[in-house]
Amino acid sequence: MNAIRKYSGFNKLIDMLDNVQRKMNHPAWFFTPYVTLFVVFIIIPVIIAAGLSFTYFNTIETPEFVGLSNYIELLTRDEVFMQNVLPNTIRFAFIVGPIGYFLSFILAWMLAQIPHRPRTILAIVLYSPSMTAGIAMTVVWTVLFSGDATGYLNAWMMNFGLITEPVQFLTSPDFLMNIMIVVSLWSSMGVGFLAMLAGILNVDRTLYEAAVMDGMKNRWQEIFYITIPSMKPQMLFGAVMAVVATFQVGAIGVQLSGSNPTPQYAGQLMVNHIEDFGFIRFLMGYASAVSVILLIMIYGISKVTWGLLGERD
């Protein structure tokens, strides 16, 4: 700032801004920009989604109120939803969510116990996958798992004599889901991981010493009675981030297999079902009902997680 002030032209501008700023006292100056954008792009879309979920809407005609029939159809007649999409989503979420969360914690816990420089380098490496753009990364996965002998995994496995024929990893329903899980876990060390690392580093160290004096006997006791309770806010933040990330990465199945719906709906998650009905079949009301169920699921799972972490709400 001071370097800029040396130029007299800037001085005038800064004085002018000062004068304007002197009058800006009302809280509205501060929260209005954020609240406006928040309401327009988050709150209103959620409300519209809820509203549309009770209608038939094909994007051309005006939405027609149909009551609960989208939900009834979804839960009773949509075989793909009940037999593939919902079980897939639950399976995917219940594997990737907890394992990713556990991995983040345990890696952060280990990182906290090595010196600063190696810790920083390893943390950057572990965090880096979450910075890759999902779609751009498709190439890596398609090359690694490619269904013919030029796929790296196939080539290696054939080289070592593990298989004789290349495996159709990405188009085979048996493999697609597992590959999706591995790829998601690979990029699961995100913001929550960083929060937990910072949390562990900031636990009051005298607590550990005091506990040893009081007769603490092993590492597990230490983790469960001191480390985790002392960083509970970060644990919660990490948990919410893990839940959200899990439901957000749903698009990878479509990217990996190159088609929506995925082969035999093997990698079809709720996010893909929304896209399928909303943007491919133009049944926006129906797609909105799926959206609402998805948001409720995320909310419910986050609440359960909070409960598990022992926080009174």
Binding site: A49, L122, A133
Partner: protein, 300 residues
């Protein structure tokens, strides 16, 4: 059995009992880094190495061929590569600035100012941490259409400005700054806005850097905006251009044609271009991010 010792957080130097951590952490890091090393290596492979059988992980004779092809491919489609790059830079630059500014203003009001509905607002924002944007793509489209924002630059920026995570992190961070600082500035006759720009902003710089990084990732990597809200090809961004290339490459994957393999090198180059700015920014600002994260907890 040795006497039990408490865990040593942030040790100053290396000691033998850290070995067990390195034994796990280093292989993990290598495993995680492999796909990224692969992109880097693949991006610089000449055609004959891309076609090589058995496939080789590391490049032997690196070349910039793929990057050249990537740029040429763009001009074939009528839009020069530089245009996509320019769009991406403008959208990301302006977006990050606005996001940091709007978020920090909002966070300051939630942390230090008094107004009706403040508590409720923070609670709604915390709830919105669980918000998944893709779930409401359709109503978002309808809202944006109604606002007349389709096919404008703003549509690539505005929907991504308000980040609940960003507001949350900055607010928690401002909570740590002592009220006395603000009170004494008030006695000196400073307005709230002056306090904010002169006192708060310098203190919360680490949190702002964190919001900046998160917002950068969101804007730089965004494909939904240019895909759905923009019809004019000349307003689309790098992320979008690369996505169309990726779609071409994967569609041909089934056929396994020569085009697809050549496309791999180009796509790897594209992925690298997307990834490098993210990692560089993070490496420079990681200390500030860790500082912010220390205050990131959700308290109930």
């Amino acid at each position: 059995m040795a006497k039990y010792q408490a865990m040593k957080v942030d040790p100053k130097g290396f000691s033998k009992d850290q070995m067990k951590f390195y034994v796990i952490l280093i292989p993990m890091a290598i495993f995680v880094a492999l796909p990224i090393l692969f992109i880097i290596s693949h991006a610089f492979k000449p055609m004959n190495e891309l076609f090589a059988y058995p496939p080789r992980f590391f490049v032997r004779t690196p070349t910039f061929e793929n990057f050249r092809d990537l740029v040429q491919l763009a001009s074939q489609s009528g839009i020069p590569f530089s245009k996509y790059l320019y769009n991406s830079l403008i959208v990301t630059g302006l977006g990050v600035f606005l996001s940091v500014f709007v978020t920090s203003l909002g966070a300051y009001s939630l942390s230090k100012l008094k107004f009706k509905g403040k508590k409720l607002l923070f609670e709604i924002n915390t709830l919105a941490l669980m918000f998944v944007p893709i779930a409401v793509t359709i109503p978002r489209y309808l809202t944006i259409e109604r606002l007349g924002l389709i096919d404008t630059f703003w549509v690539l920026i505005l929907p991504l400005i308000a980040m609940p995570v960003g507001l949350f992190l900055v607010k928690q961070f401002i909570d740590q700054t002592p009220n006395e600082l603000i009170e004494s500035a008030k006695i000196d006759g400073a307005s709230e806005m002056q306090i904010f720009t002169k006192i708060i902003i310098p203190i919360i710089a680490p949190a702002l850097a964190t919001v900046g990084i998160l917002s950068f990732q969101l804007l730089w990597n965004d494909v939904i905006g240019p895909n759905l809200f923009i019809d004019d090809e000349s307003m689309r961004t790098l992320a979008f251009y690369f996505q169309t290339l990726a779609a071409l490459a994967t569609n041909q994957a089934g056929a396994g044609g020569a085009n697809m393999i050549a496309g791999q090198g180009i796509m790897a180059a594209a992925s690298l271009i997307m990834f490098v700015p993210n990692i560089i920014i993070f490496i420079f600002l990681q200390g500030k991010v860790m500082n912010t994260m220390a205050h990131s907890g959700i308290k109930s």
